[in-house]
């Protein structure tokens, strides 16, 4: 799988430099919503990489190489996970730095991180099987729909006014957040299993 | 060992190899017990099919012109005088047939042909 990740790495750093810069910038800027975008958008990295693969018909060749179907599927998810972890880490560090400089609101970004991560993981869990089965073009549409929905949810949950109207605590409790995050992790495991099965029967 | 292959001549390639090697063994150019290139090496060097060189070698082995030592390869067999005599007789027969058909074309009778032969012998020797 290292080979596949190396290939994806080359594609990302070559072609998606602008995208990466945006992600990093959003992660650094002290704004919960932007950090949210950043993390969620890293979940879209796999999709973009898959588009380049399809252009060269790489899948046809890759399947004849000693990669297992599981490797081929897992590496795509891994690209998203690694990206999300990177964005999360940058956001986290940025928030800590801000807090060290006395920015009080920085601590609000922390729960936002968990929400975004859940959102990103949800995106992957639902979007990836679609794309692996139906190809990038069709899966892309669904992916975007979900991405927008999750982004909206991320903004809403960070917005105090709407939170007050709904009589929700401004920041959801940590235990609940952790539960939600754990749930999306589980969802991902299921998603990977489904994707692997779908990919096995897919003919290229 | 020298082998020249022609792809456009009517003669099958395995036959070209077979006859050329045989001729060199009979003429003594290939000495007894000298090693021959492996079937595969010969094929690759001549850029022809391995199956074909194998066929040529098998025929040569069958007729006693070469022998195989397991693990070591193929070697030229001792000149088999019996086989060579056989070969030469066959060649003479073929030439005689040719003479006969030519004689027919010219309208020469059998005694006239024998006359020619005797005259030739006396002149040459």
């Amino acid at each position: 799988m290292r080979g596949l990740l190396a290939k994806d790495g080359y594609i990302i750093f070559k072609q998606l430099k602008f995208f990466l810069v945006l992600i990093v910038a959003f992660a650094v800027i002290p704004n919960s919503s932007l950090s949210g975008f950043s993390i969620v958008y890293t979940a879209m990295l796999p999709m973009t990489v898959m588009a380049y693969d399809e252009q060269s018909k790489w899948d046809k060749l890759a399947r004849m190489m000693p990669y297992s179907n599981r490797d081929l599927v897992l590496s795509k998810y891994a690209v998203g996970y690694i990206g999300m972890m990177g964005a999360t880490l940058i956001t986290f560090i940025s928030a800590l730095v801000c807090m060290a400089f006395g920015d009080g609101t920085a601590s609000e970004r922390l729960p936002a991180i968990l929400i975004s991560m859940s959102g990103g993981l949800l995106l992957e869990a639902i979007g990836m099987p679609m794309m692996l089965r139906f190809g990038v073009e069709k899966g892309r549409i669904l992916f975007f729909i979900i991405a927008i929905a999750v982004t909206i949810a991320s903004i809403v949950s960070n917005s105090d006014s709407i939170g007050r109207d709904l009589h929700m605590p401004a920041i959801p409790g940590l235990p609940l957040l952790l539960l939600v995050t754990a749930a999306t992790v589980v969802l991902n495991l299921i998603s990977i299993a489904i994707s692997t099965r779908l990919y096995r029967t897919k003919e290229i | 060992m020298e082998i020249l292959i022609s792809h456009t001549a009517g003669q099958p390639i395995y036959n070209q190899i077979y006859s050329q090697i045989k001729e060199q063994i009979i003429s003594g150019r290939l000495k007894a017990d000298s090693p021959l290139p492996s079937i595969r090496a010969l094929a690759k060097d001549l850029r022809i099919s391995v199956i074909t060189t194998k066929r040529a070698y098998e025929e040569l082995e069958r007729e006693g012109f070469l022998y195989t030592v397991g693990g070591k390869g193929c070697f030229v067999a001792e000149k088999n005088t019996e086989v060579i005599r056989e070969e030469n007789l066959k060649q003479m027969e073929a030439l005689m047939r040719q003479i006969h058909s030519l004689a027919e074309t010219c309208g020469l009778s059998e005694p006239e042909v024998s006359e020619m032969y005797h005259t030739l012998l006396k002149e040459k020797f």
């Binding site: 080359y10 070559k14 380049y52 003919e203 | 099958p12």
Partner: protein, 284 residues
């Protein structure tokens, strides 16, 4: 290992095409040329061999291993593949491909790879999308040869290359099979390339295997007969194969078995391309 490839009764059907009961063997150390028109089933066969598409029936054994078994994953380390259109993502460079392949094949040989890159005159740091079709092919061939494979599967690997380059590549394939456990299955519609380098020729036509024969025996057996129509009709059955080609002046050309042609008739050399064209005409 007797056979590098054993295919028995392989069948696979699609909506408007079907590969039917294909059986052929590739003995170890040999080069088999798969020839056929576009759509005959050559690429389908290669995909079935690598199990990237699933067969309806039949069996495929690659170097002794069933290609649907889990052990086949390891066998893939010994197989080098060159496909017609599929290749590495276009943004990669030859250097980056090296890194990727290093982590893919256990016997990846960097020195051999860069040796081929140099030999084929390929730039190391340019992205593929700037390569010509021929250059992309050469890179794919370099990759296929650089992990010490035992079997090469080549799908139209010489298309898009100029004659000089093709000759060099065929030379490389010739050298590859100097070792007796190295085999090649190559599909092409450049019949002259196959005629130059193959031990066996298999002719696939509309999903059916019309023949799989030793190349040299094919060249020995067939000749092109030129005669008049009356003479042709007088020939015994089984002398002539396939359709005949007539001129408007009463003459015909036909593919014939040399051993069955009566003496005195005009026979000329039949190349593999001739054989295929005449036979295809009949079936078609």
């Amino acid at each position: 290992m007797k056979n590098a490839l054993e295919i028995k009764d392989l069948s696979r059907s699609y909506k408007d095409f079907a590969l039917q009961n294909l059986s052929l063997n590739l003995p170890a150390g040999c080069i088999l040329g798969l020839v056929g028109e576009n759509g005959a089933g050559k690429s389908t066969t290669i995909k079935l061999i690598m199990n990237t598409i699933h067969r309806d029936s039949g069996s495929i054994t690659v170097m002794g291993t069933d290609n649907t078994s889990p052990q086949f994953q390891d066998v893939k380390q010994d197989i080098g593949v060159v496909l017609d259109e599929a290749n590495f993502p276009e943004v990669l460079t030859a250097r980056q491909v090296n890194k990727v392949m290093k982590y893919t094949f256990t016997r990846w040989d960097e020195a051999v790879y860069f040796d081929y890159i140099k030999r084929f005159d390929l730039p190391e740091k340019k992205a593929f999308k700037e390569f010509s079709r021929g250059m992309k092919m050469k890179l794919a061939i370099a990759v296929a040869l650089s992990h010490h494979p035992k079997l090469l599967l080549l799908d139209e690997a010489t298309g898009g290359l100029d004659p000089i380059m093709r000759d060099e590549i065929l030379d490389i394939f010739n050298e590859f099979t100097r070792q007796e456990d190295h085999s090649i299955l190559m599909s092409s519609h450049i019949v002259s390339d196959l005629e130059k380098s193959c031990d066996y020729i298999a002719f696939l036509h509309k999903g059916r295997l019309l023949f799989c024969e030793e190349k040299d025996r094919l060249l020995e057996k067939y000749g092109i007969l030129s005669c008049s129509r009356e003479e042709l009709e007088k020939l015994p059955a089984g002398t002539v194969y396939g359709r005949t080609r007539s001129s408007s002046y009463g003459g015909v050309e036909a593919l014939a078995d040399r051993t069955k042609i009566p003496a005195g008739m005009k026979v000329s050399h039949a190349g593999i391309e001739d054989i295929i064209v005449f036979l295809a005409k009949k079936e078609g």
